[in-house]
Symmetry: C3
C-alpha cells in the first residue's frame, strides 16, 4: 500500500460473520491488528459497520429476517444482503454490532470515517414479506393520516379498490394485472425511506458513540430505488461507486461525468469521493472487457476534475475464492508484475502532487432538473409508451452539453435555480405545484428554460393534471398538447429545425400554439406541419426525441439565448473542467481520444503533473490528462 | 352525453367496493342518482352486476378467495379480477350483491339490459388452488363417471400415470416436463366451464328477479380461454370488446372484420353490439399509438356493416387516476376542445340517421369452421411444430376472402353447413366423429370443402386417429398423409400451382394420392414432385402454408368452383358489405385506403349519411364511408 | 418385430403404476405374457426397473416425495420423474418394486439385461427441498469432516458467509445475488452423486437377486448434470440416448460422432449400445423436422462404426395418446405401409450380416481431456465472460479432427494418457494438482499437448491458482498470462498464423513469453503484436478462439508435429472409421453428402452389405454407407 501511496482503505465491509461468529460473541483481535498495522504505516481507515451481510446464524435463528421477492420467493443466505430491511431481529443484531464497533474503535488513531452498511438496496431494494406489509401500512398511516385521504390519493374508486380498513392494504404483490399506480409510487417512496431508516439508525448510534467522525455510505450513481436527494441530507459527504462499462469508453466517460455532477450536486457542490471503481475489469456483466492502458487513470482524473477529493478502488487484492474473484484488484492474481499494479502505483504517486486541488469547487451555469419520484412514476407501466425512460432522456440531453464542455449541475425540482442561466428539464412526468412555481419564478427572473415531452402530466399522487398537457407549464410555454402521439416500433418521423431536416423517434406531441412560436415543425406523418419545438420568450418546449444532430442544433440555440459559454474551446474528445477555490484555479484537460490532442490555452499556467510552466499550446497524449494551475486566469 | 347523442351507457362495472363498502352494508344512493339522471335525459343504462372486482375486504376475510397461478403464486388485490372462480366465499358475496342490485333496479326506467361481470377470464382464466383442484375433480367425475373411463381417455398407461383414486388428480400444475395433454385439454374445458358457471349463476338470479331484461356480458373476439360457442347459448345477444392495434391499420381492419363475423355467427346471424372500443389510443401495449383522424369512425361503421346494432366505447371520460388513466376516453383529459370529442359527436349525430339498419342481417355463402376445443388441443406442446397456431391460420385464410369482399360466417364443426357453398377448415386438429360426418354430409350435398394441413389428427380425447392422416377425411379427400414434414426455422420451400411458382413455409405434408388429383406440387426439397394441394371432386386438401399470392390463387379456384361472388367488385382497399331485412337493403362502403376511392355502382340508391340520391359512381374520401339504401337492388 | 429382425426390446420403463396399481398390490400377469411372447419369438428383453415415474398414489400419500425447484415450486404428478432423489418414501417404494421384479424375472428366458430407471436427471437434476438440504449437509460432512475445512474450501471469509453450525447450510436456493461458487460446485457434485446413489441402490439389489445379468442405464451424451466418469464405473456397459437435430444434419453427425467417442471412452474403449434413437422425427423441439430418407440408416452405421454393438430405438410403436405421441415410432401411426417401417426393416436385415463386427474395437491416437467438474465450475456465473461454455469449445476443436477422419478418445484429466500422441485440452478451467502432473508426465514423455484459453485457473475448490495464469501449466508452456481479455459482444479481432490472417472471437489472452515461441500473433486491438498461439517444444497454448479456417491450420500443425495420420484420405463429407479385433479389421465408410462419393482404397476387401469383393475404388450413394472387411489391410 505504501508503494502505491495509499492513504485510506475501507475495512470490514463484509466481516460481520468474522466479527461475531455466534450471537453475542465478538472477535475483534484480527481487526485490531489490521487497524494498528494501517496506523503504523500512516494509512487511515474507512471503517465499515459490516451490517450489509448478516452471518448465517441470523437466518437460521430468525428465518423471517430473510427478504421475500415480489413473487413471494424467499431469498436465502449464500450470497449477501439477505435481510428484510423492516425485520426487527436484523435491526437488533445490526444495532448491537455497530454499538460494539463504535465503542471499540471510536478513538482508534487509524479511524478516519465510518462506512455504514454497503450499497443500500443494490440487490434487495424491496421486501414483500408480511412484516414489510405491516411496516408499509404504518408508513402510509403516517403519510395520509386517514383512510379517506389514502383512498382519494390512490384513486381507489377505480377498479373497486376502496379500502375500508388499513389492514386490507398490501404491498404491490403479484396481481392479475397492473397494480394501482399510486400504490406503486408510494411503495417506491416507502422502500427508499425504509432503507434510509436503516442508515439513520446506524448513524444515530455512531454520532452518539463516535462523535465528530464523518459518516457516509456508498451511493451508486443514479440508482433508481433510492431517492438520494433525501439520503444526501443524512451523509456527511457523498461517496459513489462508479462502474461504467469499459467496452464502450465514450458512453462510459459520459456516464462517469454525469455521475460526478450528481454527487457534487447532492451536497450543494461540496467535494465528494469515489468510494469504489475497478482498477481493471469487473466480473458481473455478460462479457467483462478490461480497462485498456490509461483508461483507469483517465477516469480517475475525470472524477477529480468534476469535484471528487478522493479516489478509492474496489478492491485491494483480487480474492482467490468467492463470487467476486474475477473482479480486478489493485493487486491482481498475477501479483505486482502487472500492468494493473504499475498503473495503480503511478496514479498514487501523481495524486500526491495535487493536494492543492482538495477542497476546491466546480461551478455551472446550466442545471438539469432531476427527480426520483417523477422517475418512479414515469417508469410505472400502463403509460402511452413504455419505452420512455428517464435516464435515456437525461443522457440524450447531457451528451451535447458534455461534448461542448459546458458544465452542468443537477437540481431537485423544488431546489434553488437562481444561480443558473439555463435550466433543462427532461421528462419531468410528475410535478408538484411547488416545483411548477419554482420553474415559473426562474423564468420570470429571465432564465432560459426548456422542457421535454411527457412532462407536467401528473401531481405527486399520480393524478393527471386535467385541462390539456402540460398543464402546470401551459401558460409559461404558450402551448397546449391535446394529444400524445407515441411512435410505433422503429417509427421515424422528421422535423425541420433551423433550415435543416432531422429525424425524431419514440414520441411526438400534437402541439397547439397559444402564444408560442414554432421553432421546429413536423415534416411527415399525421402531425405534418404542426409544431415540434416551440419557444415562448425564454421558455422552450420539445415535443419529440430529436436525433443527435438535431439535439446539437437545439442545444446550440439554447446556449446562445442563455449566454452560456464552454469552459474551454477544446478539440473534440478533450474534456475541460475547472475547479476553483481559495483564490486558486485549476484546469483539468482529459483527452478521451485515441489520438494526441493539441489544446490552445491563453495565459500562463503551471502543469502540476510535470511541474513545468507552459504557454499557448499543450499537447496531450492519447487517453492522457493535464492538470494546470492558472498563473494568470486562463480564458 | 346528449351533445354526443349517447343513448346507452354501461354503469357500475367496477363499483362493488362503493356499493358494498363493508360486508352486507350497501350504499346505493349514488347509483340511484346516476340512473335517475340518465333516465331524465333519455339515456338508457347497461347496468353492470359489479362482480368482476371484489372489494379488498373479501380478500382480507377470505384469503382463499384469491386466485393462484400455475406456479402457485397467489394473486393479490391491488388490480382487478382477483378471485378464484371456484371459491365459495366469492360466489356467496357476488350472489348477495347481484340479488340486491336486481331487486333494487329491476324496474328502473333507465334499465335497458344487464351487464354481467366483465371480460370473464381476461386476466385470470384459470386458478390452480386446492379448491379449484377439488372442483376440477368434481367436473371430471361428472364427465367420465368412472376412473377407468378417465384413465382410458387420458391414456394414463403412458408414463405411469394411472390413477387409482379421484383424489390423486390435480390441475396441470408445474411438473418435471410436459403434462398429460388430455389432462391439459380437459383443464381448458373445465376452466371455460367454471367461468361460464359463474355467468349462469348470476343470470339465473337476474332472470328470476328482473324478468324480461336482456342479459349479456362482453366477449373478447377470439379469446382463447372461453369456448364462446357454449357461452353464446346463455347470452341474450353477443357483445364484443374490440381493440385491434391502430399502429397496423390494415391488420386491425381485418381483425375487426373477422371479430364481427364471429360475434354475428355465435348467435346464428343475429345483430350484436360493440360493447367496448377505444375512442382513440389504449394504454396497455408497449407503445400505444393513437387512432388517426377518421379511423375510429371507419372502424365503427365496419362493425355496423358486419351486423352490429350498437356502438359503445370504453370509456366515457379519461380518468385522472388509476391504471387506465392513459386509456383514451370520449371526453379526454384535455376536455371537449379536442379532435377526439369532435369525432365522437360527429359519429353520434350520424348514427342517429341509421335507425333503419337496426335489426337487418348479413348473409354469407362461405363458412369457416372454427372450434375452441381443437384450438386448445392444437396449441398444447409436444407437437410436430409448436409454431402452428390456429389464429395465424384463420387469418391467413380469412385475408384473401375479406380483400375480395366475400362475406364469411364462422360455424362450429358440428353446426349446420347446409346454407353454404364453400366451407373452409383451417387446421382442425381435433375432430369428433360427428364433426367428420357433418362435413361429409356437406360434401355429399355438393358443397365445396377445403381442409388445411394438420387436421383430423385426434379425437376429443386427444387420441390420434390411426391408420394415416387425416384419418376421418381420407376417403372424402382421396389421399393419405403418411408423414408430417414441418419446416425448420425460416425454411422456405416452393410449390407450382396453376402454372405459377409460390413459396410455402412452416409445414409440408408427405401426401399420397388415393383418388385425388394434385392441384399443386412441391418443387424442391425431399418432397419435390409430390402433391402439395389436392382435389377430389369438391373436396380439397392443402398440405402446406402457401404465401399470400398462392393463397389468392387458390382461393380464386375455390370461389370459382363454388360459384361464390363478392358483394361488390370494388377497388382494392374498399370494403363492401350488405345488410338486408324487412325488404330493405343497405350497402356499406368503407375506404380503408389513404387515397380517395371511386366505386362503380349499378342501380339507384339513397346515401343515408348525405341524404342524396346518386347513380353509377360514388367517390369516397380517404378512410371515409358511405351507407347506401337500395332503391333498385344494386348488383 | 420378427419382420424387422428385432432381437432385443426394452420393456416396462414407465410401467410402475400398472405393475403396482396400489401400494403393495402387484399385477405382473401382463408383463409375464409380454416376456413369454418375446421369448417364444427369439427376442430378448432389456427389462426396466420402472422406477423413473412413480404412480400417482406415491405423491398423494407422500407429498414430500415430490421434487422442488430452485425457486421453491413443487413439481406435481402429471408428467414423469416427479420424485425427490433424496426422499425416503420414494426410495423405499422403488426398492420394494425392484425386489419384486428381480425376484420374479431373474430367471426368465427372455431376460438379457436390466435397464435401471431411465435417463437419470433428465428433467429433475436437482431438488431443493428441506430433505435434500439435509442430505446435502450429510454429503458435505462426509466430504469435509469439519466445518473449518468447509469454511476454508468455500472461502466463506468473503461476504460474511462463515458457517458456525452445519444446520446453517442450505442448497444454493434463490439469493439476492450470486451464490458462493464453491457451494454451487459442491451442489453439482452432490446432485450427480445423489442420482448415482439411486442407481447403485437398485444395482445392489439386482446383483444380489439376479446375479450375472448385465446392468446398465441410459446416458444422454455429454449430459451436464451427471459426471459420467463416476457413473461409468457402476454400469456393466455404457448405453446412450442419441437425439441430434435432423434439421442440421452436419452438426448432428458431428454430435453423434463425439457422443460415440465419449460412450466408448467411458468404459476404456469397450463396445457400447445405442439405447435410444428416433426412427424419424422427435416431438420436443420447437420445430421437429423428420429424418430424411437414408439419414436414420446413416446415423445407425455411424454409431456402429464408432464402437456400438447394439442399435435400439425409442420407440416401437407411436402411441396414440400422451405427451410423446408425435415422437416417431418404428411402427408409425400410419402403420407399416410407410417409409419409416421400410427403412427399419432394411436396417434390421442388414445388421444381421454384421455379426463379425460385434466385440471389435476402435483405437485413437488423439485424446480430448474432458471433465464434468471443470465444466460445472466454468459455467457458473461471475466469470470474465459468461459466454465461454465447454461444449462449444469441445465442438470447435472436435470438428477439424472429425472432418479429417482422425479418431479421438475422451479422457478424464487424471486418466491414462500414455497411449496417445496428441492430447487436446479445451478450456480446462478447473484442474487438480494430480491432473496437472498427469499432463506434465505426458509431455515429458514426448507427447504433443495443446491447451486452450481460460484453463488451469482454479483448483477443485474453485480457488484461483495465484501467481499468473495458467498457473499449473506455466512452466510447461513457457508463458504467463497476466491478464484475461474477453471480447465485447460481436467483437472480432485477428491473428496472423502461418502467414495467413484469421479472425478470432470471444476471448483473447494477454500472453507474456517465458521460453515459448509465438506461433500466431494478434494483429489488431490493444494486444496487437502480442502472442496469440504459443509453442514450447511440444506444449502449445491457444489464447483465443480462432475461426474455423484458423482451427484447420492449427490442427494441421498439431497433427504434423505429433505424426498422427487420418484413418483414410477420403473426400470431404465421407467419414471413415476402422474397428479391429480378433485379427479382423472392418472399415466403415459413411457418405454424409447429398452427392455420390468415390473413395480410393488400396488393397483387397469384402463389402459386407453387398457381399461383393472390390478393389481400388468404391462409389457410395448419397447418405450411403459401406462396411468393408479387409482381406489385405487397407492403407
Amino acid at each position: 500500500m505504501r508503494e502505491a501511496s495509499v492513504n485510506l482503505v475501507t475495512v470490514g465491509v463484509f466481516s460481520w460473520a468474522r466479527l461475531e461468529p455466534e450471537p453475542g460473541r465478538y472477535e475483534f483481535g484480527w481487526l485490531d491488528r489490521v487497524l494498528d498495522l494501517l496506523a503504523d504505516n500512516g494509512i487511515f481507515a474507512d471503517l465499515a459497520t459490516a451490517t450489509a451481510s448478516p452471518p448465517p446464524w441470523l437466518a437460521r435463528r430468525n428465518p423471517d429476517s430473510l427478504p421475500v421477492d415480489r413473487e413471494g420467493v424467499r431469498l436465502w443466505p449464500g450470497a449477501r444482503q439477505h435481510y428484510c430491511p423492516s425485520n426487527k431481529s436484523y435491526r437488533a443484531a445490526a444495532t448491537a454490532l455497530v454499538e460494539q464497533l463504535a465503542t471499540r474503535y471510536c478513538d482508534h488513531r487509524a479511524l478516519a470515517m465510518w462506512h455504514v452498511n454497503n450499497e443500500y438496496g443494490c440487490h434487495v431494494a424491496a421486501c414483500y414479506c408480511d412484516r414489510s406489509a405491516e411496516h408499509f401500512r404504518a408508513w402510509l398511516r403516517s403519510r395520509y393520516a386517514s383512510l379517506a385521504a389514502l383512498n382519494e390519493a390512490w384513486g381507489t374508486a377505480f377498479w373497486s379498490q376502496q379500502y375500508g380498513d388499513w389492514d386490507e392494504i398490501v404491498p404491490p404483490r403479484p396481481a392479475p394485472t397492473w397494480r394501482n399506480p399510486s400504490q406503486e409510487l408510494d411503495w417506491h417512496r416507502f422502500c427508499s425511506d425504509v432503507l434510509l431508516e436503516l442508515f439513520v439508525m446506524e448513524r444515530e448510534l455512531l454520532e452518539r458513540l463516535s462523535s465528530g467522525v464523518p459518516i457516509t455510505t456508498n451511493f451508486m450513481r443514479f440508482f433508481k430505488p433510492c431517492d438520494y436527494w433525501k439520503w444526501a441530507e443524512h451523509v456527511d459527504f457523498t461517496a459513489d461507486d462508479l462502474y461504467p462499462d469499459p467496452s464502450d469508453a465514450a458512453t462510459g466517460a459520459r456516464e462517469r461525468a454525469s455521475a460526478a455532477d450528481l454527487m457534487r450536486s447532492l451536497k450543494g457542490g461540496a467535494p465528494w469521493a469515489v468510494m469504489e471503481q475497478a482498477p481493471n475489469a469487473v466480473n458481473w456483466r455478460q462479457r467483462n472487457v478490461p480497462k485498456h492502458p490509461g483508461l483507469m487513470r483517465l477516469g480517475s482524473y475525470q472524477s477529480l476534475a468534476r469535484g471528487a477529493d478522493g479516489i478509492m478502488f474496489f478492491q485491494w487484492r483480487a480474492s482467490k475464492a468467492g463470487a467476486e474473484k474475477f473482479h480486478s484488484g489493485m493487486v491482481p492474481h498475477t501479483g505486482t508484475a502487472t500492468r494493473t499494479w504499475r498503473e495503480v502505483v503511478e496514479l498514487g504517486t501523481e495524486l500526491a502532487r495535487l493536494d492543492a486541488v482538495v477542497g476546491t469547487r466546480v461551478s455551472a451555469d446550466v442545471a438539469f432538473v432531476f427527480d426520483w419520484e417523477s422517475r418512479w412514476a414515469l417508469e410505472l407501466p400502463s403509460k402511452p409508451s413504455h419505452d420512455v425512460t428517464l435516464m435515456d432522456q437525461v443522457a440524450h440531453w447531457y451528451r451535447p452539453l458534455w461534448e461542448r464542455n459546458v458544465m452542468v449541475d443537477f437540481v431537485h425540482p423544488e431546489g434553488d435555480l437562481s444561480s443558473y442561466r439555463l435550466v433543462i428539464v427532461p421528462n419531468l412526468y410528475l410535478v408538484t405545484d411547488a416545483a411548477a412555481a419554482n420553474v415559473a419564478r426562474f423564468v420570470s427572473g429571465g432564465g432560459v428554460f426548456v422542457l421535454s415531452f411527457f412532462s407536467g402530466i401528473v401531481d405527486e399522487r399520480e393524478h393527471v393534471r386535467l385541462g390539456g398537457y402540460p398543464a402546470p407549464f401551459r401558460e409559461l410555454l404558450g402551448i397546449v398538447v391535446p394529444e400524445l402521439w407515441p411512435h410505433g416500433d422503429d417509427e421515424l418521423r422528421h422535423v425541420r429545425l433551423g433550415g435543416e431536416r432531422y429525424a425524431c423517434e419514440l414520441w411526438s406531441d400534437w402541439i397547439e400554439l397559444e402564444g408560442a412560436e414554432a421553432v421546429a415543425t413536423f415534416e411527415d406523418g399525421w402531425l405534418s406541419g404542426r409544431p415540434a419545438v416551440t419557444r415562448n420568450g425564454s421558455a422552450w418546449y420539445v415535443g419529440t426525441r430529436l436525433d443527435s444532430a438535431g439535439m446539437d442544433e437545439l442545444v446550440g440555440k439554447l446556449l446562445a439565448q442563455s449566454g452560456v459559454a464552454p469552459t474551454l474551446a477544446a478539440p473534440a474528445g478533450v474534456e475541460a473542467v475547472r475547479r476553483d477555490g481559495d483564490g486558486r484555479s485549476f484546469l483539468f484537460l482529459l483527452n478521451h481520444g485515441a489520438q494526441e490532442a493539441t489544446v490552445d490555452i491563453d495565459g500562463d499556467y503551471r502543469d502540476l503533473l510535470t511541474d513545468g510552466e507552459r504557454a499557448s499550446q499543450l499537447t496531450i497524449e492519447p487517453f492522457g490528462v493535464a492538470v494546470l494551475e492558472a498563473m494568470l486566469r486562463v480564458r
